[in-house]
């Protein structure tokens, strides 16, 4: 039923194109990759995201054949490629520096790999011309790499690495050298090319916005391990750890102690309600084959966190991307009344004064644990009068960052904690009623945050 949704990672029958099996890579004493296992499927746009030194580049270089794993296996289409040298792999790489050969023309650069294959001259010419068209470089084919601009060089590098029609294309910080405007344009170009060629892309980046934009799935890495792999929206809305929540986007982290909330019979209804839902839900639009879908972990998280609010996944599938947005949109409006408050979840006692925070979507089994409530700034509402909401905090505006499309308010609570609230500037004249030193009320829904276990 969900065939049109591109989510091979949810299909147990699907064979992965690449499989890391317990791969470890050490450089002397330093462990770059630590017993890592991961599957990547054909036609995926898979992003490896993490701070420098997290092992993402090593992982990519192992796929390219420039490093060999210390232990474990890397399978490409079922075959162990650990010991295969780079020139014998159906894998091509686009280098961060582009690595264009400066002594030959753009045309020759793109033809380079094809010539090594011993392809017939006519075929080479046809293929190179096709690549030039794909990357809109026809006019520059005769130029040397230093005679074209940065953006054009980037496209030559892409054309060259795609020319051999690899099973897998590796992109090492491909857009790092471009300025912001050009980078955004190129991101969409990359996605278009990825879709039209049907090639599997693995991209390494430290730019989370880039990873979120282009990727079908994002793997957040830290210290040689993959911390979370999920579609961009799950990574953002349902991070599985404080590390991921903090690494991706802006977040308020409120520490406290969890206490299970009383569950009344309404919880049963909540649990029962979604079962009836999926059958009547409309099928996902066929055009949305790129629409991300969570993996097992994401699904588990979804069941734990989002289901009470959004209903069961089948119903969500068509709105996975829009669900968070709708929530964001309403956050500008006053938060819901306590009467809307769903039962269950946790209460979080924090800084031992004031009301506990309510997170109705949290896992009650965390009862008694030290937890962190991760709250995206755009999920908070700000107002000058006390709102009627599940969670209300009182504080003083310390700073306002006006970014044009949004404004971020830095509010210091009475307890001293700083909390960021982000408001979309939907009107041309910004809200002048809230300014520095103002006493304000912050409010958020009982389902706005994600409760995570505190990391040791």
């Amino acid at each position: 039923m969900a065939q049109t949704v591109f989510a091979p990672w949810n299909d147990p029958k699907e064979k992965p194109l690449i499989e890391f099996v317990n791969v470890t890579k050490r450089f002397g004493d330093f462990t770059a990759i630590d017993n890592l296992s991961q599957k990547i499927y054909a036609k995926e746009f898979f992003a490896l995201l993490g701070p420098s030194g997290c092992g993402k580049t090593t992982m990519m270089r192992m796929l390219g054949g420039f490093e060999t794993p210390t232990s474990g296996k890397i399978l490409l289409a079922g075959q162990d490629i650990g010991a295969v040298p780079p020139n014998k792999r159906a894998v091509n790489m686009m280098f961060q520096s582009y690595a264009l050969f400066p002594h030959i023309s753009v045309w020759e650069n793109i033809a380079f790999g094809l010539k090594r294959e011993g392809m017939a001259k006519v075929k080479i010419a046809a293929r190179v011309d096709e690549m030039l068209r794909l990357t809109r470089l026809e006019k520059f084919s005769g130029r040397k790499p230093h005679q074209i601009s940065g953006g054009q060089r980037q496209r030559v590098a892409l054309a060259r690495s795609l020319a051999k029609a690899p099973k897998l294309l590796l992109l090492d910080e491909p857009l790092g050298a471009l300025d912001k405007k050009l980078r955004q344009e190129t991101q969409f170009e990359l996605m278009d090319i990825q879709e039209s060629t049907g090639t599997t892309f693995v991209i390494v980046t430290h730019d989370q916005e880039e990873a979120m934009t282009v990727a079908s799935r994002v793997a957040v890495m830290d210290h040689g391990k993959i911390v979370q792999v999920a579609t961009p929206d799950v990574i953002y809305e349902a991070p599985n750890s404080v590390y991921v929540a903090d690494f991706i986007g802006d977040v308020n982290l409120i520490e406290g102690t969890a206490k299970a909330r009383k569950t009344s019979n309404t919880t049963k209804q909540l649990a029962a309600q979604p079962i009836a839902e999926p059958e009547v839900s409309p099928k996902p639009e066929p055009s949305s084959d790129r629409k991300p879908q969570p993996n097992e972990r994401g699904e588990w998280l979804h069941d734990k966190l989002l289901e009470p609010v959004l209903g069961k996944r089948a119903a969500v599938q068509k709105t996975v991307a829009t669900a968070p947005i709708s929530e964001t949109a309403t956050s500008v409006a006053p938060a819901p009344k306590p009467s809307d408050l769903p039962d269950g979840g946790l209460e979080i006692a924090w800084l031992d004064n004031g009301k506990p925070l309510i997170a109705s979507n949290a896992d009650p089994s965390l009862d008694g644990a030290k937890v962190v409530l991760a709250l995206r700034p755009e999920k908070l509402s700000i107002s000058t009068e006390e709102p009627d909401a599940a969670n209300v905090l009182r504080g003083k505006v310390i700073d306002i960052a006006y970014l044009g499309n949004i404004s971020t308010y830095y509010v210091q609570l009475e307890t001293g904690t700083m909390v960021k609230a982000q408001i979309a500037n939907t009107r041309r004249v910004s809200r002048r009623d809230i300014t520095w030193e103002d006493q304000v009320w912050l409010s958020f829904r009982a389902t706005a945050g994600v409760v995570l276990e505190q990391e040791a």
Partner: protein, 272 residues
Amino acid sequence: MRRFSWFNVTSLTLGFAFLYLPMIILVVYSFNSSRLVTVWAGFSTKWYGELLQNEDFLQAAWVTIKVAFFASSIATVLGTMAAYVLVRGGRFHGRTLFSGMIYAPLVMPEVITGLSLLLLFIGIGLDRGILTVILAHTTFAMCYVSVVVSSRLISFDRSLEEAALDLGCSPFEAFRLVTLPIIAPAVISGWLLAFTLSLDDLVIASFTTGPGATTLPIKVFSAVRLGVSPEINALSTIMIGIVTIGVITTSLISKRSAIKQAREERAADRST
């Protein structure tokens, strides 16, 4: 604002005079029509003409050019290989020792290099002649080549080689098709440097030479012991000319390619 103070002008003049006055005198007297070296008797190019009649000198010049050509070519191949291994080889056991040993001949007194080579050739029973001079010159020219080439390789973007491998080159193809064309200017500079060094070497050549392999510097040196003749002046002038052209060409090759690249990059940035 005066850019040159009296002090600067004086030291500059003295310095250049110290370096170039002897050579200027030599060049001037090579056009002297008198047989006496120190007495000016009018302009003449007759010594150049006589030089061309002198079989001995021509023979020595031919030997020198042969030696310089072969020695610098072998030194370029070996020196480039050594530089490549030292820069690209990563950390292997004895790397520091190797690089030290490559550069040692740069500071080694020529007398010692020459003497030790002589002993080696005698020891292995190699008849001294043009071959031994070529071998000796290869030895000391090689380290100059490897210095020039390795400084270029250090600034060479390694990912270019990786890209070549990635696109299906064997490591040797990657070197031949990508690395070598890009470092070619440095290799050519190294060759020219080796050529000029071999051309004017006297000490090592005189230790390792044998019958029938008298190089020009040896010839000049022995001729001078019998008295300086204007012919020698003419010959030396020609050698100065060749060496100067060699050095200027070497620096021009590297400089022009850098300037050309910078200009084209600017043009590329403007056009977008």
